[in-house]
Amino acid sequence: MSGPLLIRGGRVVDPSQAIDVVWDVLVVDGVVAEVGEGIDPPEGAREIDARGLVVAPGLIDVHVHLREPGGEHKETIATGLRAAAAGGFTAVCAMPNTDPVVDDPAGVGFVLAQGAAAGAARVYPIGAISVGQEGQRLAAIGEMVEAGAVGITDDGNPVMDSGLMRRALEYAQAFDIPVADHPEDLGLSGAGVMNEGLIATRLGLHGKPNASEDVHIVRDLLLADLTGGHVHLQHVSTAYGVEMIRQAKARGVHVTAEATPHHLILTDKRVEGFDTDAKMNPPLRSLADREAVREGLADGTLDVFASDHAPHHYDEKEQAFADAPNGIIGLETALGLGLTYVVGEGLIDLPALIHRMSTGPAEAFGLPGGTLAPGSPGDVTIIDPEQAWTVERDGFLSKSRNTPFHGWELKGRALYTIVGGVAVWEVTR
């Protein structure tokens, strides 16, 4: 166990307690001991001078593909968690669509063991909804939760069988975990590889209509209403989907939902030129959809800002557009993009962004953290909101390079990522 840590004189922004004031934060024995003014350093404490910096509860990315086991050429749990730390995340939720799929307690234990050995950000495993993510029968949900899973999802595959989705939403309630869904009707998506519309038509690429996402968002909301279960809708990208979630929340349906940096910033215009780093699922949508997702993040309809970090080896992306896999990496750019294009453009203020990246995700998945209340984990992200930097993908700690944001000028980054009172990432100023 490391010694005490005193973070001095930073702007402490803790949305969970509505704190936004220049204070000190003291972490002792890996736990937040005190937050207040003029805290005396205990003997042997490390002190961090945070004047001019933002001190936030550790950021949490609830939608991350770490690829291990089975895809270690793209990312390992260790490289992914180091990338997370470099991006300011003290914890991530690992998607189960690995090979083999994390659909049993042994798989959950493996992710936790690899995560502990990495000595970087924490990992919270998500288990599969169905055995092998095949959409046939429920996976060992209770046993996985017992082993440490914090939610279930078949992400990568939508749950096409609405009956199975209903059962999952019912069954998961005994364990108080959300059922996270990648909402997509595969029949409507057909051979689509990008957003359906003028740009797809011009490029001769098959499109996925918004309806393929909307049909499953509405279905999931109806099933959450029917069962009383908690549905978490992943990477919402459509205007209609945002509006349906807004209305369901108003009716009291238990739903949480994500917005990704790319759906908040880019549109399908970015696919012009067939850039496979603009290929992901759901696809980049129209300007109207992007504006609706921004509005949803601003008014809290979308509770969570999550990257959907999806690493792929450069050989896999170095193909014709339709042949390349879906997904882009996001752990090391999410915070900078959020500060620059969400806060910087005045959509929401800094405390609201911290909420969507920390308190909101912690509440959605019932995670420890997301708060600096005394007694909570000593997970803290210290951010310089003014530091200008350029996205340089060859400098990433992730194993992969598939980002559409290479070369972008961003403002704001994490200088310290502190997990249990220990800095797992720090930039010497």
């Binding site: 359906e196 038509t201 001769g204 690429l205 098959h206 209509p209 067939f274 193909q319 014709a320």
Partner: protein, 323 residues
């Protein structure tokens, strides 16, 4: 002499990015090359010493042979690679295939590939000239150029003509290249087909959309009848070929209702009795074989221009020493 310059840039990936002037330059340059194929000895030394690879990842007879004749009649050295029986079936990636060819110091690649964007992908990764011979549902520029040359041969103009593309627009690279090229040259363009085979946003391209062939026949000067891939039926886009022929097939009975004689084009290969009836395909208004003849001349023009030839010296260039 004009200043030497690149009239088309390094590659011909599609017509969307070309100006009207560039498209007309290709059509005009094709004119003097037409005559070569009518000679007893069909060979001129325009591309002597150039090495060209025809890289066909999809089956093709007409387009590949047309390119090959164009290359050989211009005296280029050519190699054909098709996906069966090559390293492609052994799992080699497109980029590795291209880099290996490049390492053998080639000058041009003609590529046909099943994925939209494949030609551009290749063009961005190798210094050789790349000519798109069809990429997925994206573009097939030389087909549209030969279609436009055939139209211009008949009407002596393109501007102001009404051209309707009939059939499977969704999956058609021929349709997209024709739309871009014809619009650039000032033609009016329409599409006609079942809505399941019309991509969303077609009208936003600046084309008229007809759902019934009878309306198209009333409107058009030219019908370009696209091949209906038989697998579309299995994929659920259509109930049956018989019904397609009844509703959208170009038949003599339907053409008799036309106010003017219509020029009939088809990029081939035809499904007789499906999208086009034999009495139309073999009738006096069908330009289908003329299209094939023009294909060789248009491809010669493209090869010549990409190799750095100037349009106004094409006539002189081809009168070099005959082999």
């Amino acid at each position: 002499m004009n200043q030497p310059r690149l009239y088309l840039g390094k590659d011909l990936v599609g017509l969307e990015s070309l100006s009207a002037e560039q498209i007309l330059t290709i059509l005009d340059t094709a004119e003097p090359f037409k005559e070569i194929s009518e000679r007893r000895i069909k060979k001129v030394p325009v591309l002597r010493g150039k090495t060209i690879v025809n890289l066909f990842f999809e089956a093709s007879t007409r387009t590949r042979v047309s390119f090959e004749f164009a290359e050989k009649r211009l005296s280029a050295d050519t190699v054909n690679i098709s996906s069966s029986g090559s390293s492609v079936v052994k799992g080699e990636t497109l980029v590795d295939t291209a880099r290996n060819l490049e390492a053998m110091r080639i000058d041009m690649v003609v590529i046909r590939h099943g994925s939209s964007g494949a030609a551009k992908f290749l063009a961005e990764r190798i210094p050789s000239n790349v000519i798109n011979a069809g990429d997925g549902s994206h573009e097939h520029p030389t087909q549209a150029l030969l279609d436009m040359l055939t139209i211009r041969d008949h009407f002596a103009r393109i501007e102001g003509l009404k051209v309707c593309l009939v059939g499977d627009i969704l999956h058609s690279r021929v349709a997209r290249s024709n739309i871009y090229g014809l619009l650039a040259l000032g033609a009016e363009v329409a599409v006609c087909g079942p809505k399941t085979l019309l991509p969303l946003g077609t009208a936003e391209l600046g084309v008229t959309v007809f759902s019934r062939i009878e309306e198209a026949i009333q409107w058009a000067d030219v019908l370009n009848v696209l091949r209906l891939q038989l697998e579309r039926m299995e994929a659920g886009f259509l109930p049956s070929l018989r019904e397609y022929n009844q509703v959208w097939g170009v038949t003599r009975a339907k053409l008799e209702e036309a106010p003017n004689d219509l020029l009939i084009l088809h990029p081939g290969p035809m499904n007789r009795g499906v999208e086009i009836d034999s009495d139309v395909a073999d009738g006096p208004h069908a330009m289908i074989l003329q299209q094939v003849t023009n294909g060789v001349a248009v491809r010669m023009a493209v090869l010549y221009l990409l190799a750095g030839g100037a349009p106004d010296t094409a006539e002189v260039a081809k009168e070099g020493v005959e082999v």
